[in-house]
Symmetry: C2
Subunit: 341 residues, 2 copies
């Protein structure tokens, strides 16, 4: 068992191997410059001392931190942060990088938070999530030439590296599933237009309806903000209308929960009297009764690719940015299964 108590320096290794610090450094960073004999002597000393290069010193001199910054999303229901972070950390570790988390101070502007991190030199680049049309972070980082990779497409003039999940495919799958069950009056509860992910999901709904040969009744398309209560209100309104839907597609699980609740309040039973789908496959979706059929995004793969893109970009700054579109999958549960026909 080697000593963990004291950090060894490159000088200690040199002394032990009877060579200079430069030679030890070369063994580590440019082995071909060192004779085989010296090299093995040095490696042996490294092993014996349990030497590890000091990260701060290396980073100071190289002006790279070997770490990637991620701004923690604000806490709230409906995120699957754990899966995403786990994969982010795992992949980063594989590449020799660390993930450095940060978050805005109370009342601090989001962009300033990124700037602070850049200025203190804590990270080599950022992984962004939740990007949107005209995302100011994309604007700013592109402008500064500071490396990043984004989860979400946005629409910046110049290309940048991103990964996205095809939301249109998700809602289209939901419609296909519902029409396959025999539903013909299918409603949609979506966000107000103006968000990239929201609009894409609406488009998928329309495409899916067209593909199934179904009409979209404008009365059955509601736009509202995020959240359980909004979903509940939307549900009440739809179910009380003259010609209510038999199935409702939503763009978020919470909206779906709200709709199921509204139905229950009106004496309808979700999963039998009507079908509901969500989006994100949050943990809660599996614990509802009935479970909420929902569109699952491959967050682990998103995280993996994000780090890959980021690391690749750092070592190949000249190359054109790469992008990747992944596909979601509908997870079918009882909120739809027993309905239709």
């Amino acid at each position: 068992m080697r000593s963990l108590s004291m950090r060894q320096t490159i000088r200690d290794v040199g002394d032990r191997a009877g060579v200079s610090v430069g030679t030890v450094s070369n063994v580590l960073n440019a082995p071909h410059l060192v004779s085989a004999q010296t090299r093995s002597k040095v490696l042996e000393a490294i092993e014996e001392l349990g030497y590890r290069p000091n990260r701060a010193a290396r980073s100071l001199q190289a002006r790279r931190t070997l770490s990637i910054g991620y701004r923690l999303p604000d806490p709230g229901p409906g995120t699957a942060l754990d899966v995403f972070l786990h994969q982010l950390v795992g992949t980063a570790t594989d590449h020799g990088f660390a993930i450095t988390l940060f978050a805005p101070r109370a009342g601090e502007d989001d962009l300033d938070t990124y700037l602070e991190v850049i200025r203190s030199g804590d990270v080599d680049g950022f992984v962004l999530s939740g990007t949107n049309y005209d995302d100011p972070r994309v604007e700013m980082l592109s402008g500064l030439g500071f490396p990043f990779a984004a989860f979400g497409r946005a629409d910046h003039a110049s290309p940048f590296p991103w990964v996205d999940v095809d939301g249109a495919s998700g809602t289209a799958q939901a419609v296909e599933h519902l029409s396959g069950l025999g539903h013909r009056r299918i409603g949609l509860v979506a966000w107000p237009s103006g968000s990239e992910s929201g609009d894409t999901r609406v488009k998928g709904f329309r495409d899916g309806m067209a593909a199934a040969g179904l009409e979209v009744d404008p009365e059955l398309v509601l736009r509202t903000e995020n959240g359980f209560e909004r979903g509940r209100i939307a549900g009440l309104r739809m179910f009380k209308s003259a010609n209510p839907p038999t199935a409702i597609v939503t763009v978020q699980d919470e909206l779906g929960f709200g709709i199921m609740t509204a139905a229950t309040e009106l004496g309808l039973r979700p999963g039998r009297d009507l079908a509901v789908t969500g989006f994100d496959d949050t943990a809660a979706a599996a614990f509802m009764w009935p479970g909420l059929t929902s569109v699952r995004q491959p967050l682990d793969e998103v995280a993996r690719v994000l780090v890959d893109l980021m690391v690749h970009r750092l070592s190949n700054p000249g190359e054109p940015p790469q992008t990747m579109l992944l596909h979601p999958q509908l997870v079918v549960r009882d909120s739809t299964l027993g309905t239709g026909r």
Copy 2:
């Protein structure tokens, strides 16, 4: 708009303010040594240049990494990781520290993961969560003398810094609430004995029952592992018994969800025909219908105190370790409100 294109150094600030680097450093780290006039001149220059100290340089000179390691818990439902992490990061930032995440590689032993991080010298200490009786991490880190602060008491021979939430108070509150509603046959679904947190919650249940003058019927105390399905099975068994409970306390939300599901399957309506309580106040608890009454742990405060303890320990290694016991609060929802009497 100040220039961001190039990182500013302490020397740039000094030049701009017409003082030496040492003075700038003093303004930052020992303001009392600097005259008010000089200080404001320097602060102005800092502001104008958007200067932030370089963390690698600072770390190199301080011979500390200025970062705290946290082993990401394995993904799974039922955690409120986002709140915890947010506060961890926020508090660490306040102290000039960063949070460095890590996770075991596939198949890697948990302890080895910690050892590897120690050897790489990337962190000054750890924040531990989910500690238990004879926690091997506590043993190991105590043995090595490597700094840490734990969420959870464990029972190591020598004292160490920890924060914990009084689980007994949580289950006792649940019982008090239920007995206040008029319930007399109250059941418990808990984990097998052997975990610190589990045993504490059971104790709270018994204490609460005693305080309410109620008998604990051994038939109504079930021990099972974590999870929705386990809860469902336990619920079915309880409700089918000769003399079923009218209320059930659980030590985890998922168990509670399972029990509500079991009840529904048997034609009972949770929140009217029987009461259920959970533990952790996970996001899903609020989205159930009815919402699940649950014990909320002050995770944000836990995280804050953990970092405070850790940082304090790093700068005062000699002092005896501090500890802190926080109190949970019952969040009442419809799974209990309409029941009893």
